[in-house]
Amino acid sequence: MLNDPLLPSPPARSSERNPDKAMPTQPTPRRIPTKKPATAAKILVTGLSATAVIGMASGYTLAGKTKAQQINQPVMSPVATSAMTPQPSTQVVTNEATPSMVAATPAPVIVVQVPQATPATPGTANNNWQQQQSSGSR
């Protein structure tokens, strides 16, 4: 605290500005502080409180906006985005585009290429633990 009365007085600044001036032979009378420590603390607390209130209000506002936007944001876990094979290759997966950001000039319309169904390959299975059951959505 600069105004702490318990701290030693700072050197007289006047001598720095006027080095040619002779130093006083007697101690300079102690300067009476214009602000008391309690007053400074009150100002500081008031400032911090005001900052906190403004910050919290801004935070709540931003949180509300984010929540409102989440309904139109895609949900995808890191596993899904990193572990899967991209399908199809022409697509660009980005988490930056949202419906509200659809450009004025829309991207070109595409036709997703889907390979046609082809026959499967039969085999010879003989391991009991590997048995599976195909039924309608069980």
């Binding site: 989440q70 309904i71 139109n72 944001q73 895609p74 949900v75 995808m76 876990s77 596993v79 899904a80 572990a83 899967m84 094979t85 991209p86 399908q87 199809p88 022409t90 697509q91 660009v92 997966v93 980005t94 585009a97 949202t98 419906p99 659809v102 450009a103 829309p106 991207a107 070109p108 319309v109 595409i110 036709v111 997703v112 290429q113 889907v114 390979p115 046609q116 169904a117 082809t118 026959p119 499967a120 390959t121 039969p122 085999g123 010879t124 299975a125 003989n126 391991n127 009991n128 633990w129 590997q130 048995q131 599976q132 059951q133 195909s134 039924s135 309608g136 959505s137 069980r138």
Partner: protein, 300 residues
């Protein structure tokens, strides 16, 4: 280092996407890969569930004709929906959700989540109005809704199986509620035994096939009814005519295609499926089983 014996494998399961999901892995770091596969199911459920409001599908369904940015996997799924609708001549239709909800199919069969659609939503016979752009924005016409349904499970199984092979597995089987995709590395001869279950008794097997590469999917008309919950029939024909079969299984290269063609097989005994080289088995209400000639090649 010699390859691990093919008997060294693991199977892990979890209830996801409203069904029992099993991931079986042989070769590689089996436990890590199986867990990774199940995590992928959970992630894709977050994207495609009609019971999760933040999913891509739900956001599209309430967009009212506005463009919506979706994940790249959702773009690929919708591409499959369009291709399947075209190839099956409308027998597979991803826009039937309003009809399902109108019949009371509003609640998840495994928890208390509910599904809703906008008041004016209705089924479409023409889905050419779906617009997909290169920046992953998708626009579906106002009043149209999409339901990933069985095709979503099949496509998820395809993505996961391919991913696990790319991560070092020698042979994998991904079974999402009966939509099964198997895959293997070129240097293995492993195959998976698969029971085709009866639609009237879930504990009885109609037959057992052996699949080395590819997929099998089974649809039955009462799939959306379990333990007294759900609706008695979730299949609707495009022209409103009765469904002649109660269950159909199709073997194809991918689970997404197998699932889509089961919808066609349930509604018609047309030989279009066989002409494509695919394999089909149908069961009618009396329990009579009919199958394509090539089905025999897969019987164990």
């Amino acid at each position: 280092m010699s390859p691990l014996p093919l008997t060294l494998g693991t199977r892990q399961h979890r209830i996801l996407m409203g069904v029992r999901c099993e991931v079986s892995v042989i070769g590689g770091n089996v436990h890590t890969l199986a867990e990774e596969g199940l995590r992928m199911v959970a992630d894709l459920e977050q994207l495609w569930s009609r019971f999760i409001p933040s999913s891509d599908i739900c956001r599209l369904n309430r967009a009212d004709g506005e463009p919506v940015w979706v994940n790249g996997r959702t773009v690929a799924l919708i591409g499959h929906m369009i291709a399947a609708h075209t190839a099956t001549q409308g027998a597979y239709n991803p826009t039937l959700l309003p009809a399902l909800i109108q019949h009371g199919d509003t609640r998840s069969l495994i928890d208390d989540k509910t599904s809703t659609v906008p008041a004016l939503a209705h089924a479409f016979t023409d889905i050419s109005g779906i617009i997909i752009r290169a920046d992953n924005t998708v626009t579906i016409p106002a009043h149209m809704t999409l339901d990933a349904g069985g095709l979503g499970k099949g496509f998820a199984a395809d993505l996961i199986a391919d991913h696990l092979i790319s991560r070092g597995a020698e042979s994998v089987c991904v079974n999402l509620g009966g939509d099964i995709r198997v895959a293997r590395t070129p240097d293995t001869t492993h195959a998976w035994p698969i029971h085709i279950m009866s639609p009237s008794d879930a504990t009885q097997s109609v037959c057992t096939i052996s699949l080395a590469q590819g997929a099998v999917a089974t649809s039955h008309t009462a799939a959306r009814q379990r333990n007294g919950q759900g609706i008695t029939c979730h299949i609707a024909s495009p022209n409103g005519s009765p469904i002649p079969f109660v269950a159909a299984s199709v073997i194809a290269s991918t689970a997404a295609w197998a699932e889509a063609w089961t919808k066609f097989a349930l509604q018609s005994n047309d030989t279009l499926i066989e002409k494509l080289g695919l394999v089909v088995l149908r069961i009618d209400e009396s329990g009579a089983v009919t199958q394509s000639d090539t089905w025999q090649e897969f019987l164990q």
